[in-house]
């Protein structure tokens, strides 16, 4: 996929090096999003096992 990059007032196609950097950002963002979703799922699973809500858990830990 060809990305567009803006350098000062010029909009142009990304170079190979720029494309690699953009893809690295996208990959990391995807990994972080997945990690956050996995963490949320794991947290919800624990809450479900305990039979309490997130607010109730916060009260217990607070």
């Amino acid at each position: 996929m060809t990305y567009k990059v803006q350098v000062d007032d010029i909009l142009r196609d990304a170079t190979a090096e720029e494309t690699a950097a953009i893809n690295a950002v996208k990959a990391q963002d995807k990994a972080e999003t997945k990690a956050a979703a996995d963490k949320a799922s794991a947290r919800q699973a624990v809450l479900d096992r305990l039979g309490i809500t997130a607010d109730e858990a916060a009260l217990l830990l607070g």
Partner: protein
């Protein structure tokens, strides 16, 4: 002969205009006072001009020129600012990355970047800042997102090795950003921190680039969307 005077004379009809009179009025052009106390005492007394709107003066203790507005004295100059505008750049719609080149120099050590009404093409994104286009393991950053409607705080509060300093989760809504860049031009590690906000919430972010190479440019990369509109403004913090 010093320029400082203690009165601003008012000449009466048929009065003899002496050399001393001329030296104190026309000689200095703008009346010069030692300080604001002698300035205030120089008007309105016997044989002195009544202070009126438009009067100018120079104060030698503070090296400033002032004018009288009719109600108060105000400083004309010289003005000094801790913050100096360097450059601005409007967004060209459609780019995944935005780079401002020739942004950093030896003139300043630290910089302020602002953007008002920045719009991106979609929600659920995260912007990352890099210096001189470098990416990789030299960056660490963390951020928190504060959601206004749900009153919740989320984010990556622990440091992470990143492809740039994250500016927090982004929405498509118009966003205001302010970010400080610390020593990007110096051959030292650099730091970037700041905040962004829009109608849905605010984000506070902070990060470092351990790469000691001097940088003259920065790049902001969108993770999933593209820039739509807005303008970035860059300022330098005075080092004197």
């Amino acid at each position: 002969m010093p320029n400082e005077q203690v009165k601003v004379p008012l000449f009466a009809a048929a009065e003899i205009l002496t050399a001393a009179n001329m030296n104190i009025s026309a000689g200095t052009g703008v009346p010069v006072f030692t300080n604001s106390t002698t300035r205030d005492a120089a008007f309105g007394g016997a044989g002195e001009k009544v202070l009126a709107e438009g009067q100018l003066c120079y104060l030698s203790d503070s090296n400033i020129v002032q004018y009288y507005s009719g109600a108060a004295w105000a400083t004309v100059g010289p003005t000094s600012s801790a913050l100096t505008f360097i450059k601005s750049q409007a967004i060209v719609a459609g780019a995944v990355t935005f780079t401002m080149s020739n942004a950093f120099s030896a003139t300043y050590e630290n910089y302020l970047l602002t953007a008002a009404n920045l719009v991106i093409s979609g929600a659920g994104d995260q912007m990352r800042v890099t210096l001189n286009g470098t990416s990789g393991s030299t960056y660490q950053s963390s951020f928190i997102n504060i959601n206004f409607s749900s009153a919740t705080i989320t984010g990556t509060v622990a440091a992470l090795v990143s492809t740039g300093v994250s500016m927090g989760d982004q929405t498509a809504a118009s966003t205001q950003i302010s970010a400080n860049f610390y020593s990007p031009f110096l051959t030292k590690a650099s730091a970037i921190n700041g905040q962004q906000s829009n109608t849905t919430g605010s984000r506070i972010f902070s990060g470092v680039d351990s790469n000691a190479a001097s940088s003259t440019a920065f790049t902001i990369t969108m993770a999933t969307n593209t820039f739509t509109s807005g303008t970035f403004y860059l300022y330098g913090y005075s080092i004197t």
